[in-house]
């Protein structure tokens, strides 16, 4: 007999496969080569791209192609418990997985010895910050004219007790009853639909994982539409 899940209703009234309200805007940092903002509910990320530019120190340069460098950080006042300024182990890990996700689509072969810097900042956090960061970053890279074969969209799916959900918010992340909360950030390429980022913490069966990834892919299609619209609405 399959037990029922204790999580039957989402606090904000969303359906289980529904994202929070999405908002995106391009060009928010005028002096950067490309920039964008992406928001899901009250989680907001801003990203700015500078490059290609010569990489210093010289020994880090790659003479065959440009390098992508992602720096993700949360603003001290983005969460209730103030975050001390400066990189943390968490922010460095997140920077790296985002870098891998973005590297799967960008083509930096023209930019030898150069670096393309992607700066991601989170002014307001309500779970799903790294996926909001990716969504903003890919728009900023496109805005900066960086060649890429397709775009990517990211969402955090999960399992709250036994219920599969899309776009986990902070309350759901903290859910303790039954099997608790399983948080699964994922990221999909827009054309090939392949997975560029996948992380998990919690516990989930392989079957449920497959199901929730499919839910995530559908959500990513909607997110992609929002990103495309923001890019095409650019004023100049």
């Amino acid at each position: 007999m399959v037990e029922k899940s204790s999580y039957t209703k989402r606090e904000d009234g969303r359906k289980m496969d529904e994202t929070r309200p999405l908002r995106a805007k391009v060009g928010i940092v005028p002096s950067a080569d490309g920039s964008a903002m992406f928001e899901t509910g009250t989680t907001r990320a801003i990203a700015a791209v500078r490059g290609p530019r010569i990489l210093h120190p010289q020994h880090m340069q790659d003479p065959r192609r440009g390098l992508l460098r992602v720096t993700y950080g949360m603003m001290p006042f983005s969460v209730w418990e103030r975050i001390r300024p400066g990189p943390s182990r968490r922010s460095q890990e997140i920077s790296k997985v985002i870098e891998w996700a973005l590297s799967s689509i960008v083509d930096l072969s023209e930019f030898r010895n150069s670096v393309v810097d992607v700066f991601i900042q989170i002014p307001q956090a309500d779970a799903g910050t790294r996926v909001a960061g990716i969504n903003a970053a890919v728009m900023a890279l496109a805005h900066a004219g960086i060649p890429m074969k397709e775009m990517i969209s990211a969402v955090a799916v999960g399992k709250i007790d036994k219920t599969l959900v899309v776009d986990v918010d902070k309350e759901e992340e903290d859910y303790k009853e039954g099997e608790g909360s399983t948080d699964i950030p994922m990221c999909i390429l827009s054309r090939s639909k392949e997975i560029a980022l996948l992380q998990l913490d919690g516990k989930i069966s392989p079957d449920d994982l497959k199901k929730v990834i499919e839910m995530g892919k559908k959500a990513c299609e909607k997110i992609h539409e929002v990103q495309v619209k923001a890019l095409k609405e650019i004023k100049e």
Partner: protein
């Protein structure tokens, strides 16, 4: 006929085996897919994406405007924005330079109009042995998005000529997005600046030439002569 559609990377621009993938695009089976963010341009069967944004990438033959930032016995290092540095050898100057007097000719902070002679793994070589090149003696310099330069120049220079006439200024446009404006009055130079910024911000609006003339008139008395209307507003591809 130029298309005005904006595409994003990964978007299918057009389908058909007849089409050829140009800059900013790639063929994927039957589709021509964009791999850059920008405006679609289809002429004949060649499909291109013209970037709206992104840093300037130096190409041979480009005119650039940059600043002296260093020198050695062989010549000067010129910075023309966004970590693009070129080298101007003494031999690429059309007059005699004594190797101990380099700074007497071009000093730190001097600005030069130069041409990109070659772009290699070693670096970028510049020359000023071409007409129109040399030191910027007076005037103001402005920066625009380098992707808008073709629009500012216009088809066969028509747009920039219009601006020159409206403001009584000499205008030299660098492909790197730096533009030198020289007029008799600073106010004329600033007027030209405003007009060029207007062009840059409205670069893919239809009927731009008319709008530019209206804008210029709104800025104050201008002796604008009636110039030939440019019907075809297509963006000129410099390469």
């Amino acid at each position: 006929m130029a298309e005005r559609k904006i595409v994003v990377p990964g978007e299918t621009i057009i389908t058909g085996e007849d089409y050829l993938p140009g800059n900013g695009t790639k063929r994927e089976d039957e589709d021509i897919v964009a791999n850059k963010f920008g405006l679609v341009d289809i002429s004949d069967r060649l499909v291109k994406v013209i970037p709206l944004s992104g840093r300037y990438i130096p190409r041979r033959g480009n005119t650039i405007i940059g600043q002296v930032v260093d020198y050695n016995m062989k010549g000067w290092m010129i910075d023309f924005g966004n970590t693009n540095k070129g080298f101007l050898q003494v031999s690429e100057v059309p007059w005699y330079i004594n190797k101990n007097e380099l700074l007497d000719h071009f000093d730190f902070g001097d600005v030069l109009v130069a041409k990109v002679d070659s772009v290699t793994a070693r670096g970028i070589d510049l020359t000023i042995k071409v007409k129109g090149c040399g030191k910027v003696e007076q005037g103001i310099l402005i920066n625009i998005n380098p992707n808008k330069v073709p629009r500012v120049i216009g088809k066969e220079g028509s747009m920039v000529t219009t601006v020159k006439e409206m403001t009584n200024c000499n205008i030299t446009v660098g492909q790197n997005g730096v533009i030198w404006l020289k007029g008799d009055e600073i106010d004329d130079e600033l007027k030209a600046k405003k007009i060029i910024e207007f062009i840059s911000e409205n670069s893919y609006v239809d009927g731009l030439t008319e709008k530019v003339k209206e804008f210029a008139e709104s800025l104050g008395k201008s002796k604008s002569k009636k110039t030939k209307k440019t019907e075809d507003e297509s963006v000129e591809d410099k390469e």
